[in-house]
């Protein structure tokens, strides 16, 4: 797998990452952020994320999430969950 660079086309990133990005996009909604925060692993599994992806999400391992096809615009939604909890 070639290392994806944000903003540039990468075939592996384009082929993968769909479920991961879809899950992150769902975090636009407050009720989904609550559901995610209460059970991150279960929430990710319901969106069809694999074990590797789930581990990277739980660890908020950004470099790894990028490698797995995470898109920065959707990963930004993941960042906001923590911020919402902190408020």
């Amino acid at each position: 797998m070639t290392k994806p660079q944000p903003g540039k086309f990468n075939l592996d990133a384009a082929l993968g990452g769909y479920a991961l990005n879809k899950m992150c996009h769902s975090l636009n909604r407050a009720e989904n952020r609550v559901a995610f925060a209460s059970d991150e692993r279960g929430y990710c599994a319901r969106y069809g994320l694999g074990e590797e992806e789930i581990a990277a999400v739980v660890a908020r391992d950004k470099p790894r999430l990028f490698e797995l096809g995470g898109n920065m615009y959707f990963l930004a939604k993941l960042d906001r969950v923590k911020k919402v909890e902190e408020i």
Binding site: Q5, P6, G7, K8, F9, N10, A14, Y18, N21, K22, C24, H25, L27, N28, R29, A30, R33, K62, N71, M72, Y73, F74, L75, A76, K77, D79, R80, V81, K83, V84, I87
Partner: protein, 278 residues
Amino acid sequence: MARIVGGLGTSHVPMIGRTIAAAKQKDVPFAPFFEAYVPVHEWLRKMRPDVAIVLYNDHGLNFALDNMPTFAIGAAHHYDNADEGWGQPEPRRFRGAPELSWHIIQSLVADEFDMSVCREMLFDHAGITALDLLFPDHDVPVTTIPVVINAVQPPLPTALRCYKLGQAIGKAVASFAGDSRVLIVGSGGLSHELGVFGKINEPFDRLTMDRIEHDPIALTRYSNDEIVDLAGAQGLELMTWLAMRGAVEGPVNVINSVYHAPISHTGGAMMLIAPAAE
């Protein structure tokens, strides 16, 4: 006849909108950015545009990877804001201009720009922030037509294509029978990369602003990957400025402009131009 009275390029980092909502424009380190809008507000009072065509990139609000148009345009009666992950915002509704939208859509498709047409569209902070900067009291006297340029999932449209889209929008407006006074807004940039500090390239940003004024074609010669290397991944939001400049073609006067870095993690910029013939 409808005509374009001016074009605005502006940064839209969320911190700008939050600062305006809190009425803290004078208290932030990037206060000079807001001060530069004072002449813009004077110009708006004088020129009284009644429609704003807002070119911006959606940030994963209205569009997700299931269906990601390269170019999309709103044809709705109104556009609402929505939660982008920060929490439910105060609900806001922006009036559309569906007749002008459909006129532009017909003209664009005839000119071989195969737009995605949205009868509903959630209005991303990128568009709303630009309107907040223009109308800080949240009382928006213009109708709005959102035009979205994909910046989320590469491959993204080229700089030249975005410039030509702007030209085609300009042509469409000029052939509208109503007598709208149209402001074109390009909301994005300048140099930055989401979640990364230190991707600001001030010399490139300043060169970009000079080129937008004097020689936009020069900017269309950059490949997208070159723009990423120079200005960061979100430096590609420059496409919104290029499309704006395409719509306001020919010699222009700069009413006011400002460059202030950083605003949050971005090279903050604003430029208001008007056709030299105005």
